[in-house]
Symmetry: C2
Subunit: 179 residues, 2 copies
């Protein structure tokens, strides 16, 4: 737990929710955090639900979970594609188990369910996946942002300001040396 | 100049650049600033270049320029539509003349040109409109962000982190009472 967790990751797959990917990524850059954009394939263009393109720069194999202080999972249809890749699921689990903060929004909770990190924990998501969240053991709350130790979750794009406010309050002490 | 300039405005028209509208708007909300979304028609849905919808909540007639501490002009094709509305052009000019900060990015400079607020001032824009900017008297620079007193400008979506960093440094002392 003494590893300096100075790196951040944002996960990517096709049909991601435009703002739920871009707002946190640009917000990290504004703060000086250069997050890895990690997807099943590196160097590939993925398009949002509305067709906005972004290029991945890494795969889970490129990431050392112990280095990661913050991992963000956007929503849209992307999480449904992510859960089909065991290495994407395992990355979330390994970052969480080694002390990193996991932040997910909207359908992003699906990947947190598959990573089996929600049992007994407080969290939220889009109401559309509340059943899946509760079956995974989540103490589910209908709030703009729920913070439970190293889990931060929100419901929808309208919650992004509260989501990022919570993320940067929680990570403020982690990213003392920026990547 | 003693008016408390506690209000913010972000301008809207069809075919706005997705991130250049949404990143500053969400970033203001994260800070606690509730900006008016001002367009030629209020209560109308406008779509981004990629089809992302947003509803306007005001027209220039609803805005008192003396109250506005910050006015943001996103890019995309939206500024080409904005300049056809004299009340949109006049709003930019009036906010500037009454001491408000004008922030524009990419093609947003076209509206600043039409508002005739650039003569002799340092600014940047997408290189595509450099000629128009220089004909309007701009001392044009190819930099991620250019700050000249109450004008803040950037070139493209990649500059958004620097753009917003500059905006919130400049406005930090203005928005003492948040709207």
């Amino acid at each position: 737990m003494n590893t300096p967790k100075n790196h951040a990751v944002i996960l990517l797959e096709k049909e991601y929710e435009d703002l739920e990917f871009w707002y946190p990524l640009l917000r990290m850059r504004e703060t000086g955090i250069e997050a890895q954009v990690t997807a099943p394939v590196s160097g590939k263009i993925y398009h949002s639900k509305h067709g906005y393109p972004v290029i991945s720069d890494s795969t889970p194999a490129d990431i050392n979970p112990a280095d990661i202080g913050l991992l963000i999972i956007p929503g849209g249809h992307a999480p449904e594609h992510m859960v089909r890749h065991p290495d994407m699921v395992q990355l979330v689990r390994n970052v969480h188990m080694s002390g990193g903060l996991i932040a997910f929004i909207c359908h992003g909770g699906l990947l947190a369910c598959s990573a089996d990190i929600l049992n007994g924990r407080r969290a939220t998501s889009t109401p559309a996946i509340r059943d899946e969240m509760e079956k995974a053991g989540t103490d589910w709350h209908d709030e703009p942002v729920v913070v439970d130790d190293r889990l931060i979750s929100s419901r929808c794009p309208d919650d992004l300001p509260a989501f990022c406010r919570a993320i940067f309050e929680e990570t403020g002490h982690r990213f003392t040396t920026l990547v």
